[in-house]
Amino acid sequence: MNWETVIGLEVHVQLATKTKIFSAASTAFGAAPNTQACEIDLAMPGTLPVVNKQAIDYAVMFGLAIDAEIGKTSVFERKNYFYPDLPKGYQTTQLEKPIVGAGVVEIQLDNGDTKSIRIHHAHLEEDAGKSLHEGNFRSGVSGIDLNRAGTPLIEIVSEPDMSSAEEAVAFAKKLHSIVTSLGICDGEMSQGSMRFDVNISVRPQGETTLGTRTETKNLNSFKFMEDAIHLEVERQIDLLEEGSEIIQETRLYNGETKVARSMRSKEEANDYRYFPCPDLLPVVISDEHIEQLRSKLPELPDAKQQRFIDQYDLSEYDAGVLSTDATVANYFEQTATQSKNAKLSANWVSGELSARLNAENISITQSPVSAEQLASLIIRIADNSISSKMAKQVFDGIWNGEGDADQIIEARGLKQVSDSGALESMVDEVLANNQAMVDDYINTDADKRKKKLGGFMGQIMKASKGQANPQQVSQILAKKLAELV
């Protein structure tokens, strides 16, 4: 039987605010445990939440970016459950009146088609703390770090519009691109800034009702998400084909061991007894404020891609690669502006630089080669001062902190000789010193002489210590040899 996969995503995006959603404690990543958990985050009796204006604005900006209706009156509710990393005994979230209504996100498929993924809604909520099951404390207990408790999140809930792991990953990457371009999330996956819950079901091809779904929770990388979906789809198909049923449940996927397991049955856990939070009044956003935010929206990835094509004459592919991540796009634009050569800038940013950053597993904002330095290198490639081979050496030098391009070219004596007078005398000298090669060339049939050129080129490049401009040398050599024949 042919099976069809149906996937919906819930995406948690940590908002890049300085403070928590309901308290003025810092959200900075990596602080010592519990130093950023104030009395409100700890749910001390008598404390009251006060909503962070920036979190509201960021959520509205996301809504505007996906063409969603903005909830002009949104209401916080309590989702009740007990867990040690949730001191209040409930998570403050939104249910009936979320801040962002239905919207749509376009994704690009591998075959070049686009597909619209509908967003059901997006709501604001608070993150929980972290439970540590082992550490520098006695065994048999769990340690709780509440620094993360109260960090603002938007949870983006998609419709079940994706039909493969590839589509789900494309959607997740598009959301990442949108929220980082908006500047509302730092996009640092390794720090948990974006986490995915994946709802998966399968059904026979052509069937219109949905199969029983499972939810695989808390995936924090695109790769893990892709692997987890493949694994779960296979598991469900195997079960159905042997005549078993799918149990609706929450599953956990371990990216290291590549194994998933059931977490808990949803029946009881699902009874969250939501009700509007009496501590918080409805949040009302005026049309005027929404328009103000709309007018300040930064350029979004799709618009940026089109502009790169128009303004820099890039291919659709290159423009896509360079516009996906706002930090990469900014780096490229700085390089292109300063070097005045967009094509070479595009090649170097998406080629050598990206490869090196990937290999070292660092982001472009931490690149040891600044945009100014890369531009200095590109200027010297474009004006023929250095060959592309030398350029790689210069790039290495910049990467290792030896200075900018001109300093390294100078220090390493890498300057390409393009002065035609100097090159001519160099060619003359090599010809004079290699009479046997010249005779051999003259005695070779005209149609086979081309093969002999390599030997001369090698000698000349060696004589110039690799600094001669190869295109020019080859022209001069051809001319000189023609004169001798």
Binding site: T17, A24, E39, N80, P278
Partner: protein, 95 residues
């Protein structure tokens, strides 16, 4: 409206409350009387009235995004039941 025993037990589990079996009937009666009151309220004619999101007909005041909470871990942990290595300790939890 009466509340079944199983509902009481379920609610007690969700609320992490220990309910003595002998008291279930009494609790059921008391909660039922609360729900009767709700029934009375629901009988009122509210057509033409829009619902309130909050008993106070006001809107939320918002706060600027500025850090002004100092680190008071020491004070908070001094009154916590159990701490070690700067963490709050709880009975072992595993999903």
């Amino acid at each position: 409206m009466s509340i079944e025993k199983q509902t009481i037990e379920n609610l007690a589990t969700l609320a992490r409350l220990a309910v003595d079996d002998k008291r279930v009937d009494e609790i059921s009666q008391r909660l039922s009387s609360v729900l009767e009151l709700v029934d009375q309220l629901q009988a009122a004619d509210t057509s033409g009235l829009s619902g309130l999101d909050h008993p106070l007909n006001e809107t939320q005041r918002l706060r600027e995004d500025e850090v002004n909470k100092p680190n008071m871990r020491e004070a908070f942990q001094a009154i916590a039941p159990d701490t070690e290595d700067n963490l709050y300790l709880v009975p072992k939890v595993i999903d």
